[in-house]
Amino acid sequence: MGSSVSQAGAPPPHPPTYASTPPFAPAAADAADAAAAPPPKPHEEEATEEKVDYLNLPCPVPYEEIQREAFMALKPDLFEGMRFDLTKMITPYFALTHSVAMGSIEIPAQGSEVIKVPTSNYEFGANFINQRTMLMGRVSHEGRENIRVKHDITDNLSLKINAQLTSEPHYSQGMLNFDYKGKDFRSQVQFGNNGFYGANYIQSVSKNLSLGTEAFWLGQQRKSGVGVVARYDTKKMVATAQIATTGMVALSYVQKVSEKVSLASDFMYNQMTKDVTASFGYDYMLRQCRLRGKLDTNGVISSLLEERLTPGVTFQLSAELDHWKKDYKFGFGMALGE
């Protein structure tokens, strides 16, 4: 990545100049400086760099999705117990969902002992999605509600709302986002409860490299932070690096081995808690099933199998083995109508 940065820095005869770029130029420079140190060197580099048109760079990935390829392989939706999901499409834009889950919930306990309590849950959801608007709501029988809203105000500006509401006072959360998508950059402003304010900006600096920065303020805790990210992607690989003043360092690398197989790895380090974890995973896409697995340095091995039995019927098997904690989870699920 260092060599990539230098390549990107060397030849720009006509760097892109936009009305909104100048205010962020120092931040981008800081991002470049920070990115030069931690990002891992990509194992594969393009043999010949073609002439880059700096006035026609692609639009970068949104800041919050910088690691989305790694997330797909390394953070599958594991579960324990039985799960049944039913989706009923009333119109092509409107659907109702019913979900039943039975299993165990882990109770935070002292020491390394794992205490589990059997539990069950029913959730009802309503989804409406069209070209400009997405409304998704899920409410559980205990009164817990998840709300997601996305509305394109203009072609470039969109509004997003996320909320988790509970019946208990002071446990609800909400977040309001304004996303702006430019020609070769993206920016976002966030407002959350408990006095949270955040903003981020990500800019393409070459065909494969984009750099970004973010700042946030937690009013209730009187704390602020700054973070920088770098992302280098080609058709075959994606490498990302992220660092923040909260002491968090995150690196990830995903290699597409073939059309059906991806290998992923990531590294997380938190300077405050001295917590460090490395994970390695695979994502295997077969004709009728998808198999994902992961191994990390905490001794956890996990796997998720999703098989499409017929169109609209999906069978799921989930397993997670935590050998150090002697915590073993197995789950099976069925999804209809998706």
């Binding site: 009923k88 009333i90 409107f94 309503a126 409304l135 998704m136 709501g137 509401l165």
Partner: protein
């Protein structure tokens, strides 16, 4: 009426000292800020309750009113 934020009595200076014009302006500004904060808190509490109970019905109403319009039977039938 009970749900409205209760207004505290204005803080008054000790003794018989008379407030100067500057003190009066500062007091008015402080009162305005406090009222704004209380109003914001009250509004957010009400918005949370409305969203909690009203969002799912809102999605259903919007879905039922969009093209192609489904019938109520389609909404209520299990399959």
């Amino acid at each position: 009426m009970a749900s409205r934020p209760s207004l505290k009595s204005k803080p008054k200076g000790k003794g018989g000292k008379k407030a100067t014009a500057d003190d009066e302006d500062a007091t008015a500004a402080a009162t305005t800020v406090r009222l704004m904060k209380e109003w914001t808190t009250w509004t957010m509490k009400k918005a949370k309750v409305v969203a909690h109970y009203g969002f799912i019905p809102l999605v259903i109403v919007i879905g039922m009113n969009s093209e192609p319009k489904p019938s109520v039977f389609q909404l209520l039938s299990p399959v």
